[in-house]
Amino acid sequence: MKKSLLDYTLKIRLPLMLFVIAASFVITFYVSRAERDGVGYAPEQPIKFSHKLHAGQMAIDCQYCHVGVEKGRHAIVPSVNTCMNCHAVARKNKPEIIKLTQYYEEGKPLPWKRVHKVPDYAYFNHSVHVNAGITCESCHGNVQEMDVIEQVKPFTMTACLDCHRNPEEQLPYLENVKKGPDNCAACHR
């Protein structure tokens, strides 16, 4: 039987094309995944603040600055006056501290770049997690080692549910850990 152009298209070109499309999609999907989820995002901040120095070397408790995290939804970015508790005295002449003092004295808001974000239709609550004994590192990574804060875990619904459904695997340090709620209204309302 004579080979027609249609045969060629159907048997070779079409599968080839589909394969190329699928492959490039899959590759792109996985390659870009981290960035889509924001993993590795480490924006430059208006003041070069180092968590490695403060939380790591000096071992200041997270909640000294991120107050209210055990009481409410937000683990707020500390207000400038919290920094000034120490820096009104400590290292006053360093350029970054001079910048900070300027913000404080002028009463100007400090535009801190947001690193971690859940979509606004998801109502994440810090206090319920912190009060259940989950450490900050479990989601935010080893902050004590970071000079510039970077997102290390994806903040996707899958990531949330992985932990909510299998907390013993994800949070092995917690004893008698209970499953988190996995109904819609737990986060969406």
């Binding site: 209210g68 970015v77 207000s79 404080y104 400090l110 606004d120 109502y123 609550n125 109904n183 969406h188």
Partner: protein
């Protein structure tokens, strides 16, 4: 052709030079050999240009996606200096006072990160005890009204405050030196410090005269009280001790007096969980009112016949209890024959009043004449009902409201040019009193929050603070001073009304400071309250403690006076024989006297009886409609004194014949876009003859479409008649029936069975119960829900197409005859069914069930097929046909200021998603958060839904239906409990407690 080599000066090749024939031939061809020959595709590169470009683009796109930079997540702007006591994400609460009307209920303001988002009653207030009305709940929207004025204006031009203040002070001084009157018009004054301030203003500017008014005042009641008891301040009532309540044209549960307090006390004696010794409510009225809907016995009577009715009652009662001090007799029999009353019902009433002497109360409506009020006072005295007067809590009158004569005088003074300045202090006389004569005054100064009819004709317009931005003290009841404190800095360039006046009192514009009135108030409080209380606490401590509590209780008990019998001696039977039409002008339930006409939430609240939103109307009885030859939406023309108004008709079952009931407050002309074209201005009919008077009524041409959220099912159509009873949507009984057989509802119970095994709820399971004995259908739950859950305003055009978004619908059903209907009410909200029919049909699983029994709705998953709403037997799902914030009134509520009113804990839904009651899941999650923090289990009583919190009668109970000790469990398993449409086996989680009517019969 050949050429010699010499001919050529230029040559390209030797071949050409020698005139090679090949060259000559090629020269005659445009293209070289082979260039234009047909090419063979198989010899070309397999990738065409098109493919190449496509591949290039695709790879560029993929690379771009793969290698693009991270998405920017914006910034977090932290506090520079964090205020103490604010934790972002946690609400703060402040006690304050509502100034929506002169009841001055104590409120608790919920603020988030410094902005107020919800008003609720202050539980520490002894009068309103944690509840406020629907208007109060929704008044938060007025704070964020984008149409509020900003900056002082002179002749429509912005001028700075300082120069405008000095200008006004000069004008005032000039008026005094010229001997011209300064007329200050204000609403009823209930604040003692404001009163002091006005007195000081009067001292400073000698020719100043204060005119105060209230559209629907209690002047007749006060005058009558003065004549009966010698004091203008009448006591509040111990309604919670009354066995028999007879209301004469008094909507005391809906809009008269402090109806929040009255509703609580009334419903307190309708609690099946406590006792079934119910009170019995008799209502005699013309228009079907909210109180009338809840009556056990209701009589139809035009308001102008009320006097005769009271006289006949007095005769009947004094004849029987032998306390006849009143010689004129007008027997009940005569009255019943004349006005077609049911004799039997009438004698039941008389007997009940006689059997409950000292334990009953007769209430007269504020619109009734002074004489009728005196008669009612006398009747109560004869029945020894003065025992129910609460002399510890007296309705104060700080400044006597101006009488009709005072207004007439002002008008003539203005006509005679002896008034040179009119100051409009947060009032609107041009609309309310049709006082357009103030236009003739030289200087008109308006202190208003947004433009109204009076400010639009004023030379000076000074914008004032909202109540939530103001300081104040209120003393509308003798035993309480309720304090008001600002919870937010003024959003716009406004000043507090009292502070502006204080600057004028001080006499120079430099005297102004933002804190001036605060200090003034504090000093006045120190002098007048603190010094009298003999408290050991230092003043500052006491002041802050009082601000914290929101109120200071005083002990001002007065002894009761004796009834002055001479007051009744001249009152005669009117024996009015009138076939004319009577119009009764009434207060609107939600927008008050028009003050809240710009508030979309309140405009969209369906009228509790007729269910009409966005409009006022002329309500007539079915018989009157027939004689006028009109139907719903037809227009009638009401004429009196040469003034006429055209109004659309509502045929209202249960109304007195030849009566037209019209609500005022509608038809505002100078108002924000949200209140434009709503209703008709019927204020112009007011003629100083009270609130009801004879009019001419005729059918007018044309129709006007009213937006009603619930149609009248015609009562005589056999197909739909009583369908709510046939389908057991409403299950009712009487107290007698219940006493005889407390399980009388069991005959309606339906044994459902499942062919599959449903999920089991072992842990906490949320449920709600609504006690229909207590529910009055006042609508407070609806507005509270609107505020809590960011429910949008949709506008009249959308209500007409049935697209209202309120999550709670107050269903109203009639049974019986159109003349004497029985009304049943039922709040209908998402029933959170265990076998929810909506869940099965969702193609994307956006609605499903949680393990704690909630029918949850994930908005970001919903694609808007609306199958769920189709399949819901209760019709409680609401679809966003538009982004309503964008769609309503030229995107009136789509702006940065109005957005601040949103509850940050609830998603603001956009176009194309379905929504419905969530059982306030945000509050459940908040309670859960607290439970986790305090390391204790979450229990049902830790959650209060917004509707439950707001319900003035505590008819709503919410909690864990699996907890056998919970209140909800008792309600759910009460013998009066039933589910709506039980036969469908959807297993709802909202239990209704059947209403028991306290009649003398065993049948409804």
């Amino acid at each position: 052709m050949s050429k010699t080599k010499n001919d050529k000066n230029f040559w390209k090749s030797l071949k050409e030079y020698y005139n090679d024939p090949d060259v000559l031939k090629s020269k005659s061809n445009e293209f070289a050999d082979g260039v234009t020959e047909d090419f063979n595709p198989s010899e070309l590169s397999p990738i065409s240009r098109r493919n190449f470009l496509a591949l290039l683009t695709a790879s560029a796109a993929f690379t771009a996606t793969a290698c693009s930079d991270y998405q920017d997540k914006g910034e977090i702007i932290a506090y520079n200096k964090r205020p103490e006591g604010i934790i972002p994400g946690k609400p703060n609460f402040y006690a304050s006072t509502c100034t929506g009307c002169s009841n001055n209920c104590g409120v608790l303001v919920k603020t988030r990160e410094g902005r107020p988002i919800k008003l609720d009653g202050n539980p520490d207030n002894p009068i309103n005890k944690g509840k406020i009305c629907a208007t109060g709940e929704a008044s938060i929207l007025n704070l964020y009204d984008p149409d509020r004025l900003s900056g002082a204006h002179k002749n429509r031009r912005k001028v700075d405050w300082k120069s405008i203040d000095s200008e006004i002070i000069d004008i005032l001084n000039k008026a005094v030196s010229d001997g011209k009157e300064i007329a200050l018009i204000t609403k009823t004054v209930t604040s003692p410090t404001y009163k002091n301030l006005l007195t000081e203003l009067k001292t400073k500017y000698k020719t100043l005269k204060i005119y105060s008014y209230e559209m629907f005042d209690d002047l007749n009641k006060r005058n009558a009280w003065e004549k009966s008891y010698g004091s203008r301040n009448y006591p509040s009532l111990k309604l919670d001790e009354a066995n028999i309540i007879l209301s004469l044209e008094s909507d005391f549960l809906g809009k008269e007096g402090n109806y929040i307090e009255a509703a609580r006390k009334y419903a307190g004696k309708r609690d099946v969980m406590q006792s079934i010794e119910f009170n019995r409510l008799y209502v005699v009225e013309g228009m079907m009112s909210l109180t009338g809907m809840n009556a056990d016995y209701r009589f139809r009577l035009r308001p102008d016949y009320q006097k005769d009715f009271v006289l006949s009652l007095i005769t009947e009662i004094t004849n029987k209890n032998g306390k006849s001090l009143y010689s004129k007799s007008y027997s009940g029999k005569d009255f019943c024959t004349k006005y077609g009353f049911d004799q039997e019902k009438y004698s039941t009433l008389v007997q009940d009043l006689l059997n409950n002497q000292g334990k009953s109360i007769v209430l007269a409506g504020n619109s009734l004449s002074e004489e009728t009020h005196i008669l009612v006072n006398y009747l109560n005295d004869v029945l020894e009902n003065s025992a129910l007067y609460d002399n510890n809590s007296i309705n104060n009158e700080l400044i006597k409201n101006s009488s009709k004569a005072d207004w007439k005088e002002l008008e003539s003074k203005i006509k005679n040019k002896t008034v040179s300045v009119v100051i409009n202090a947060e009032a609107n006389p041009v609309f309310d009193l049709s006082a357009s004569f103030i236009n003739e005054v030289e200087t008109k100064i308006s202190l208003v929050d947004s433009e109204n009819e009076t400010s639009s004709v004023s030379n000076y317009v000074l914008p004032i603070n909202h109540a939530l931005e103001s300081w104040g003290d209120y003393n509308s009841r003798s035993n309480l001073i309720s304090l008001q404190q600002p919870v937010i800095n003024p959003i716009f360039d406004t000043r507090q009304k009292e502070n502006i006046i204080l600057t004028w009192v001080n006499g120079h514009s430099e005297a102004y400071s933002d804190d001036a009135y605060h200090q003034y108030l504090k000093n006045s409080f120190k002098e007048n309250v603190y010094s009298r209380l003999n408290t050991p606490a230092a003043f500052d401590r006491f002041w802050f403690a009082s601000l914290h509590d929101g109120a200071v209780q005083l002990n001002n008990e007065t002894s009761a006076n004796q009834f002055n019998y001479s007051a009744v001696s001249d009152i005669k039977v009117e024996n009015k024989n009138n076939s004319e039409y009577l119009v009764h002008l009434q207060k609107s339930y939600y927008i008050g006297d028009g003050k809240f006409a710009g508030n979309g939430w309140l405009q969209e609240m369906p009228h509790p009886v007729t269910k009409v939103a966005w409009d006022n109307f002329a309500a007539v009885s079915p018989l009157t409609a027939k004689s006028l030859d009109v139907e719903m939406n037809d227009l009638v023309e009401v004429t009196t004194d040469g003034k006429n108004v055209k109004l659309p008709v509502i045929v209202q079952p249960g109304m007195a014949d030849n009566l037209i009931a019209v609500e005022l407050g509608y038809g505002r002309e100078v108002i924000s876009d949200s209140g434009k074209n709503t209703g008709t201005n019927a204020n112009i009919l007011l003629n100083g003859k009270g609130y009801f008077f004879d009019v001419n009524v005729s059918k007018a041409d044309g129709t006007y479409k009213l937006a009603s959220t619930q149609e009248h099912h015609s009562l005589d159509d056999t197909f739909v008649k009583d369908f709510h009873r046939k389908r057991k949507i409403i299950q009712e009984g009487t107290v007698k029936e219940y006493q005889k057989d407390n399980r009388f509802l069991d005959k309606y119970k339906y044994e459902n069975f499942d062919i599959t095994k449903g999920p089991e709820y072992t842990g906490l399971k949320w449920g709600m119960a609504i006690d229909l004995n207590k529910c009055l259908s006042c609508g407070t739950c609806v507005t509270a829900c609107n505020v809590e859950n960011n429910v949008p305003v949709v506008g009249k055009d959308q209500v007409l197409t049935g697209r209202e978004m309120q999550w709670i619908r107050l269903d109203r059903y009639y049974s019986g005859t159109p003349e004497e209907p029985i009304v049943s009410n039922q709040p209908m909200l998402c029933q959170h069914c265990d076998n929810a029919p909506c869940e099965n049909v969702c193609p994307v699983n956006a609605t499903n069930h949680s393990t704690d029994g909630l029918n949850q709705m994930a908005y970001n998953r919903c694609v808007g097929t609306r199958y769920c709403a189709n399949n819901c037997p209760y019709k409680v799902r609401r679809f966003n046909f538009y982004n309503f914030r964008d769609h309503f009134a030229n995107a009136y509520y789509q702006n940065d200021v109005s957005a601040l009113a949103h509850n940050p804990e609830v998603t603001v839904r956009s176009r194309g998603v379905m929504e419905k009651c969530t059982f306030c899941v945000q509050r459940i999650m908040e309670a859960r958060e607290d439970a986790i923090r305090e390391n204790k289990p979450l229990t049902g009583d830790m959650v209060t839904t917004a509707c439950q919190q707001a319900c003035p009668t505590d008819a709503i109970v919410f909690g864990d239906s699996n907890d056998k000790n919970s209140k909800l469990y008792k309600y759910r398993n009460h013998e009066l409990g039933y589910h709506v449409l039980e036969v469908l086996n959807v297993r709802p989680n909202v239990t209704y407690l059947a209403k028991l009517r306290n009649t003398h019969s065993e049948e409804v």
